[in-house]
């Protein structure tokens, strides 16, 4: 029987196409599933797939050590992109699918904050631990908005993340803007949960640091021509354009059109939403002079090598975050199994152990969670694009 379980787990994890989740734990045998919901197709896939691969790598490594009770980990991954764009309704649907599968003990995802808003009420209701590698909106864990997401169990916090939140990333971006000598900023955001949250914090922190914000405009979904907006910005002669948003919501095109609008020499600064390969290809030659922060300290050599070896490609901006999120889930499940004496742990136990995570060694630093479920590790990496490549500039502290 253990041999059969091993075989099954090997088939499921070895498969790179979305694995189907079975509806009953009877057939799952002694497989412990880690659910994944990320955008695996479309404009966000260049972020989603490397993050998913990070999860796969962590699970494969965990399976090399034997667990008590002969358990094996498996990844059940689902795609939340519809017609090429991350979709909150699809994310909610995927979360329900994962919740309905008793073998799923923890969930990794989603990538986008607006998708998380649709998913948190479902995992809260099910008591399923959810660890996001990349959503950074503060409203997901803090304040009244976060409280409203915890509909079924207002006192249970089942949503965690291993990345720094927007208030930290926005603050780090403001620090970065000052560091590159910018005094006058024009702020553009995509009017989504992530982008607007980031831009609002940037604006506030940049002003606090003595900078001037010349204007703050919001993009409309689906828009591709930003010349009029950039002409408006140019007339105010900013020395940096701050963009709150992702490549898929306009980041690449705005940077590209800055060159056409005579603003090629003006710095362009954003958050981790523009840190993907798709940004570089969309903006083309105009990408040079772009700065962005990634809510994860970079540069863990052993991880980079292991990832390269397994997937035959270099890591994406969120591979390490996906890996770290999976490590959190695996560590929580391990502890729950040990405490239960080798029996299949309950979701409640897993959630309890994940909540208590402290100083867990990961490629993105020591992960632990504060009372909101956010990481206690507030270091971000600043990158600059030159000659079409993102170059690591240094670490930026987001401050408390």
């Amino acid at each position: 029987m253990p041999a059969f379980g091993l075989l099954l787990a090997a088939t499921v994890t070895g498969c790179s196409s979305p694995a189907t989740t079975s509806q009953s734990s009877e057939t799952a045998g002694n497989v412990l599933k880690i659910g994944v919901d990320l955008p695996l197709s479309g404009a966000d896939a260049s972020d989603g797939i490397p993050a998913r691969n990070g999860v796969v790598l962590a699970v494969e490594e965990a399976n090399r050590h034997s667990l008590p009770g002969g358990f094996q980990f498996a990844v059940a991954d689902l795609d939340d992109a519809v017609q090429g764009k991350h979709d909150p309704a699809q994310g909610a649907q995927n979360t329900k699918t994962l919740v309905a599968d008793d073998a799923v003990l923890a969930m990794i995802g989603p990538f986008n904050s607006n998708v998380a808003q649709a998913e948190i009420p479902i995992t809260n209701d099910a008591g399923l631990a959810q660890i996001s590698p990349a959503t950074t909106s503060t409203t997901l864990t803090k304040g009244d908005a976060a409280q409203r997401l915890r509909t079924s169990h207002p006192d249970v916090k089942a949503f965690f993340r291993v990345c720094a939140t927007d208030d930290r990333q926005g603050a780090a971006d403001a620090q970065a803007a000052r560091k590159i000598g910018a005094k006058r900023a024009f702020v553009i955001d995509d009017d989504e949960t992530y982008g607007k949250g980031l831009a609002d914090v940037f604006e506030q922190q940049f002003v606090r640091l003595g900078g001037t914000v010349l204007g703050h405009e919001h993009l409309t979904s689906g828009q591709t021509d930003f010349k009029a907006l950039l002409t408006k910005a140019r007339a105010l002669s900013p020395d940096v354009i701050f963009f709150g948003g992702t490549t898929s919501t306009g980041g690449g095109l705005v940077r590209k059109q800055m060159a056409d609008a005579g603003m090629g020499a003006v710095a362009f600064l954003g958050g981790d939403g523009i840190s993907d390969a798709s940004f570089l290809s969309t903006a083309g030659r105009a990408a040079d002079g772009t700065y962005f922060t990634v809510a994860a300290p970079q540069g863990d050599k052993p991880f980079i090598d292991a990832y390269q070896k397994r997937f035959d490609t270099s890591i994406g901006a969120y591979s390490a975050n996906g890996y770290a999120a999976a490590l959190v889930a695996i560590a929580g499940i391990d502890k729950a199994i040990a405490a239960d004496g080798g029996k299949r742990p309950s979701r409640a136990d897993v959630l309890r152990y994940i909540t208590a995570t402290k100083n867990l060694k990961t490629p993105v630093g020591d992960v632990g969670f504060d009372s909101f479920g956010d990481t206690t590790d507030p270091i971000l990496s600043l990158f600059k694009v030159s000659d079409g490549k993102a170059v690591f500039v240094g670490l930026v502290s987001a401050g408390p």
Partner: protein
């Protein structure tokens, strides 16, 4: 004031692309009273064909001089031809069999064709944005403080040239006359010996070829495309056609440029204008339709839809 004129240039170049797409909507509506929802996707297909042709020609970077003229002409004409053929095929397969069906039926197949094209393109190049090679250098020229880039001039000029050519075709050639006759009264035209099928096929050929031209131009102008590109552009172009008076060629042009201009001016002069520009565009549309239900240049016809 220079900012105002700069925005006029921005608006005209954006409007030029809307206008080229709107021409196809308006021609098809004019002749068979069908809103061809697949038209926006034919436009996207134009960018995809252009990509394939440029790859076939081995062009991946800037070309200059005569070579540039040749590359632009070959790519654009080939993309126009291919899109024209696709348009004719769509008409033959999806609309002609339903020509005498209730009006809702071809409308639904049009939406179906749109989905088919989108998904074919998604299979072809994947769902992510695709960079378009920087074919032409883009020097800016300064006129009294207003920067006009070479690409912007090309877009505006091309839109005007193609519209003039289309007007000439419709009003000066025999086939154009047949098109106008078919648009006025299909049965009477048939009785006068006009081959309705050929005439409608030619309408689709030309309309789709113009979308192909728009596709090539937008690829060069914006330097990017993706399979869903046609949705937003198609919506705006359709609005342009309605604003100008659907069925009217000059109206589509006027509508396209108007919408581009309204967007640019609204973005500049309204606080948070980028967000409000669509609201302004559609408010203008509503106002125009209240006072001129058949659009700016539309003739008052008996109610059709």
């Amino acid at each position: 004031m220079t900012v105002f004129f700069q925005q006029i240039i921005n608006g005209l170049s954006l409007g030029g692309i809307y206008a080229l797409i709107a021409l196809g909507y308006t021609m098809v509506y004019g002749i068979i009273e069908l809103i061809n929802f697949a038209h926006g996707d034919v436009y996207t297909l134009g960018t995809f064909f252009s990509l394939a042709i440029l790859a076939g020609l081995g062009v991946s970077g800037e070309v200059h001089g005569l070579q540039l003229v040749a590359v632009v002409l070959v790519t654009m004409l080939a993309a126009m031809l291919l899109c024209g053929i696709v348009g004719v095929l769509i008409e033959r397969l999806a609309y002609r069999p339903l020509r005498n069906a209730p009006r809702l039926a071809p409308l639904i197949t049009a939406i179906g064709m749109s989905f088919i094209l989108e998904n074919v393109m998604q299979l072809w190049h994947g769902p992510s944005p695709i960079p378009f090679p920087e074919v032409m250098p883009n020097p800016s020229f300064r006129f009294a403080g207003v920067d006009v880039s070479a690409k912007q001039m090309a877009v505006i000029a091309l839109a005007v040239i193609l519209m003039l050519a289309l007007q000439t075709f419709i009003y000066k050639t025999k086939l154009g006359k047949a098109m106008r006759a078919t648009a006025q009264d299909r049965d009477a035209a048939q009785l006068m010996g006009i081959n309705i099928n050929t005439t409608i096929a030619v309408t689709f050929l030309i309309g789709s070829a113009l979308a192909g031209a728009a596709g090539f131009v937008s690829g060069v102008y914006y330097g990017t495309t993706w399979f869903f590109n046609g949705f937003e552009a198609g919506l705006k172009a359709f609005t342009a056609a309605v604003l100008g008076g659907i069925g009217n060629v000059a109206g589509a042009m006027l509508g396209g440029f108007s919408i581009g201009l309204i967007e640019a001016i609204a973005t500049q002069y309204i606080p948070q204008g980028e967000q409000w520009s669509n609201v302004v565009v559609f408010s203008v549309l509503v106002l125009v339709l209240i006072f001129r239900p058949s659009g700016l240049l539309g003739e008052s016809l008996p109610e059709k839809v």
